[in-house]
């Protein structure tokens, strides 16, 4: 579990609550063997791409920054990293994993939940009701799926 700075440390500073326990609880409902990085929570290290750095032209510096996160991940021996933030996920999955040869799977927290679900299809009535709402909406918004891109 990677603690995004914005939901954790900075959330705590701004709103008086850091979201540390919630993602851990959710992850533990989905995974049997949960391990912590060290340090975590308020002293967690940034993935290295925060503050817009993922989009910034300072690529070498971003990768250099991420060496600390990469080592933290490696030291856990975990096979999967859960990242509850778009930006952290991109940095860990698309950059750090390759640059530092981590060989880990990286998932959004909500991706982990979606992948853990056993989905029961809706009932006939529910489907009918939803189709009706959908058709009315497409009519209102002028959405026509049969029409090719024009």
């Amino acid at each position: 579990m990677h603690d995004p700075c914005n939901y954790g440390r900075k959330g705590f500073k701004t709103f008086g609550h850091g979201y540390f326990e919630e993602p851990r609880w959710i992850t533990q409902q989905c995974c049997e063997n949960y391990v912590e990085m060290y340090p975590a929570k308020m002293n967690n290290f940034c993935c290295g791409a925060g503050g817009g750095a993922w989009a910034m032209p300072y690529e070498q510096e971003r990768i250099f920054y991420g060496r600390v996160k990469a080592k933290q991940i490696k030291d856990t021996g975990a096979k999967m990293v859960v990242a509850p933030c778009h930006n952290c996920r991109d940095q860990i999955m698309k950059s750090l994993d390759k640059e530092y040869g981590l060989g880990v799977e990286v998932k959004y927290l909500w991706e982990l939940v979606a992948d853990s679900l056993i989905v029961e299809p809706w009932s006939e009535e529910e489907i009918k009701a939803a189709n009706k709402l959908r058709d009315a909406q497409y009519e209102r918004d002028d959405v026509d799926l049969d029409q090719e891109w024009g």
Partner: protein
């Protein structure tokens, strides 16, 4: 070199010279920052520069942009020095056309077209309908569709423009959860961007406009909950 007048009014970063005494120069901040040493800089030096009136030098340096505004230094500082606020202020003082990378361009795009990548409304709605059809017909979620501008929905969901732009299938993670939970949710047809780049470019005014749009959606659509998965 000319003598510098240092006082709070003069300081563009609104750093008072008293900071020079408040900061112990203990280096706790620098010790815990992963980019200490890059360009010969670190947060302690940045604080010193600001306290000594070298505002413009700090604004012109790369450091406030290589810093990720992670806040680790500030949390650890024994003196409560507001390092983060200072860094962000330094970003805000950069001339807008000298903001590195695409983040300011994204802000301008969002102001003009409602999302950072300028995706038009019709393309967005078509994409949502197309992906929903896949789930409905082929992926085991019969009846699924994306409710757009649905009044009275419980959850209002914002979207990260990188997903409709480049990773559309990733939007389905949340959708699958909503389906299983039979959640009452909706997406706005316009101004749905969830990424507020004004936060990172140090642009308070634009940031307020983007937040205002989301509040407007919540009021107009009478949604109870905001889900902003950034």
């Amino acid at each position: 070199m000319e003598a510098l007048a240092i006082n709070r009014k003069e300081s563009k970063l609104r750093v008072a010279p008293e900071w020079a005494d408040v900061c112990f120069t203990c280096g706790t901040c620098a010790g815990g920052c992963p980019v200490t040493g890059v360009d010969g800089m670190d947060p302690r030096k940045a604080v010193r520069m600001a306290a000594l009136g070298l505002d413009q030098e700090l604004v012109d340096s790369r450091f406030p942009w290589i810093c990720t505004l992670c806040g680790r230094c500030e949390y650890a500082c024994p003196q409560g020095v507001e390092i983060l606020k200072m860094m962000r202020k330094a970003r805000g003082l950069r001339e807008r056309d000298k903001v590195p990378g695409p983040i300011h361009k994204g802000v301008v795009m969002d102001l003009e077209r409602g999302n950072n990548l300028g995706i038009p409304r019709d393309d967005f709605l078509f994409l949502l309908a197309d992906l929903a059809k896949e789930m409905d017909e082929d992926e085991g979620f019969p009846g699924f569709y994306v409710p757009v501008d649905k009044k009275g929905a419980n959850i209002l969901l914002t979207v990260n423009s990188k997903e409709p732009f480049g990773e559309p299938d990733d939007m389905k993670f949340w959708w699958r959860i909503f389906y299983a939970a039979k959640e009452d949710w909706t997406v706005p047809s316009e101004n749905w961007e969830g990424v507020n780049w004004g936060l990172f470019s140090g642009d308070d005014e634009s940031m307020k406009i983007f937040v205002g749009r989301i509040v407007e959606h919540l009021e107009r659509l009478e949604c109870k909950t905001l889900l902003l998965p950034e």
